[in-house]
């Protein structure tokens, strides 16, 4: 690479900065990442597999997937609808809606969980009603799903709003004038244009839904084999000094995170390629 002497720093400054950045990344990111797998495999491969195939671990994995299965599609529908409304229409309360979408980002997850306990818990706002109809939300699976939806709900909307705004509505207007119905327009014109944004948003939403700890911890009640998700299960194992078990289960989340990272990069690459065509 050619270097312009007038605009670039001296080699000393550059190498110092590079060294600082790289060692920081190494200590804060790379070493912990490897330590997860190191401790997980500390007592050998068989123990590792056994920890994962433990009944409670499997139940936590199932619950996590169940949560994702509800969270991602619901947030996808909400995200597309919200970004559509915000990008396409002018209405009173639009800026309020835009900032409301960000609330889960700005509120601590513990507090998000607390809110739902106060709403649906035994002493909560809807508590009596729920108890009399024998519906359990808090300390049960529905509560876990609801708080996860709350915590992850900005991801897809946030991803789509700027994309929809930058695309504009001309193509949609063209489709309507050519006689397409609203649904045909959405399906044939809008969706292909926001496809990559949706995929990207789903990846982020999915990653967070799997990894969410704070809010879920408040509403779950930590009932083993029933209301423990993977992150909660990791904590329980760790608190019981079962380090190998904790790291083994944690390694699953780490692998999922790494996979997310790889898929994210692939999506990024593909969408840029598609954009250039």
């Amino acid at each position: 690479m050619k270097r312009n002497i007038n605009t670039n720093e001296t080699p000393f400054v550059r190498y110092t900065l590079i060294t600082i950045a790289l060692s920081f990344i190494f200590i804060v990111l790379i070493v912990p990442l490897f330590s997860v797998f190191y401790y997980a495999l500390d007592k050998g491969y068989d123990t590792y597999i056994a920890s994962i195939r433990d009944e409670e671990a499997l139940s936590a994995i199932r619950l996590t997937f169940l949560t994702v299965l509800f969270t991602v599609p619901l947030n996808l529908i909400f995200g597309v609808a919200a970004s559509w409304v915000i990008a396409r229409f002018e209405f009173t309360g639009k800026s309020l809606l835009t900032s409301l979408i960000d609330i889960p980002f700005s509120v601590s997850p513990i507090i998000s969980g607390m809110i739902y306990v106060l709403l649906f818990g035994a002493q909560g706002f809807f508590g009596e009603f729920l108890a009399s109809h024998d519906i359990k939300i808090i300390f049960a699976v529905p509560g876990i799903i609801i708080v996860t939806i709350f915590v992850t709900f900005p991801f897809i909307a946030r991803e789509l709003i700027p994309i929809m705004q930058s695309i504009g509505s001309e193509e949609e207007e063209a489709a309507l004038i050519l006689g397409a119905s609203g649904w045909q327009t959405f399906w044939n014109v809008t969706l292909p244009n926001i496809k990559w944004g949706i995929i990207y948003g789903i990846i982020l939403c999915n990653a967070r839904a799997m990894g969410e700890f704070g809010a879920v911890s408040v509403v779950s009640g930590h009932i083993r084999g029933l209301t423990n998700t993977i992150p909660l299960h990791v904590e329980i194992l760790y608190n019981e000094y079962n380090y190998v078990g904790a790291f083994a289960v944690a390694s699953l989340l780490t692998l999922a995170a790494l996979a997310t990272l790889v898929i994210k990069e692939i999506v990024n690459y593909l969408s840029h390629k598609a954009g250039k065509e």
Binding site: E170, L176, I177, L178, G179, A180, S181, N188, V189, E277
Partner: protein, 359 residues
């Protein structure tokens, strides 16, 4: 199909975009809506198409009220300024879209669609590019795809928003001649929006000059150009020099010189605005009977068949004059020379007619 526009009003918040506008367009006509940006021409086009709703007023298509019809019932074709082609579809798919989205009963068969698309591709001379994506086309090609796509649904009215706005000068000229020929061929009632007077005058059967949400003048290109109804139209169509004169005892004065003019002298003492086209001036080396001012030459642009001479008159105002090449050679003028300018033709507006049209 004829279009009748009656007393259309449109506000955007506080902004009064269209102020009670009336216009009738005959069947098969090619009409240009001409005006500066922000004059409401695009808004009017979008109201005709149904993309925008008017606050009040009515629009009749062939005498039938269209204001309550939704977009697809109006049977209009619309060509967007930036074409709005479907990026992820090929040229073929773009043109076929309007036919493919029809309800099953009205949808042509695959073969019919194919036949229709290829005949349109032939019409716009893009047969070989049917499998390209919009991003692989030049601006002029995209424009023609957009037009073919709009024509595929056999619209009764074709609306074009700044159809040549995004093209470079050469392609622009070619395409507008082509559009004129195409219109003569297919004869669909067409309305296009432009801010380029040359384009409007060259292509359209009739020109509608708009300003600030109202119509200033409607007429054939010749009418609006040679006989502008208002000072705005005079200003907007072609270069023009404005002189501030006054009327005294029915006589028109510029400075202390009386100026002959054709307007009747009923006007009471008043301010007068004298418009003179650059090519209605002659330059003389000595004072003539009809000289209105002496002037110093500032700049001469000797390109083209007419020579453009920029001068500063005795009121310290800039004046633009165009004289034929032969006349220029005959005079032998150069920069900083003092000369005398005489108009062959003037157009005078009096105070009440005049508004400030600084754009």
């Amino acid at each position: 199909m004829s279009i009748e526009i009656k007393n259309i009003q449109k506000h955007f918040g506080q902004f009064h975009a269209i102020k009670g506008l009336n216009l009738s367009i005959k069947s098969g006509e090619l009409v240009a809506l001409l005006g500066p940006s922000g004059c409401g021409k695009t808004t009017l086009l979008r109201i005709i198409s149904g993309l925008e709703y008017a606050d009040s007023g009515s629009i009749l298509f062939s005498g039938e009220d269209a204001i309550n019809k939704n977009i697809s019932e109006r049977k209009v074709g619309f060509v967007f300024q930036h074409y709005a082609l479907f990026k992820h579809m090929t040229v073929f798919e773009n043109i076929a879209f309007g036919l493919k989205v029809r309800p099953r009963k009205l949808r042509p068969s695959k073969e019919e669609i194919k036949e229709k698309v290829y005949s349109l591709l032939k019409l716009v001379k893009l047969e070989l590019l049917h499998d390209r994506f919009p991003s692989q086309l030049s601006g002029g090609q995209r424009q023609r795809v957009a037009l073919a796509r709009a024509l595929a649904v056999e619209p009764q009215v074709l609306l074009l928003d700044e159809p040549f706005g995004a093209l470079d000068a050469q392609v622009r000229k070619e395409l507008r001649r082509w559009l004129r020929r195409l219109h003569d061929e297919i004869h669909v009632t067409s309305v296009f929006v432009t801010h380029d007077q040359e384009e409007a005058l060259e292509v359209a059967d009739r020109v509608v000059v708009m300003n600030q949400g109202q119509i200033e003048q409607v007429g054939t290109p010749e009418e609006v150009y040679t006989n502008p109804a208002t000072p705005f139209v005079y200003n907007f169509l072609g270069n023009v020099n404005l002189f501030h004169g006054r009327v005294e005892n029915g006589k028109l004065f510029l400075g202390d010189k009386e100026i002959k003019h054709s307007a009747d002298s009923k006007t009471a003492d008043n301010k007068a605005y004298i418009y003179i086209r650059p090519y209605h001036f002659d330059i003389h080396l000595s004072h003539q009977a009809d000289t209105i001012s002496s002037a110093i030459i500032e700049h001469i642009s000797p390109a083209g068949s007419n020579i453009r001479v920029e001068l500063i008159d005795e009121f310290k105002q800039p004046v633009l004059v165009e004289i034929p090449m032969e006349r220029y050679k005959e005079l032998g003028i150069k920069k900083s020379d003092k000369v005398f300018i005489s108009p062959r033709q003037t157009k005078v507006f009096f105070d009440g007619d005049y508004q400030d049209y600084s754009i």
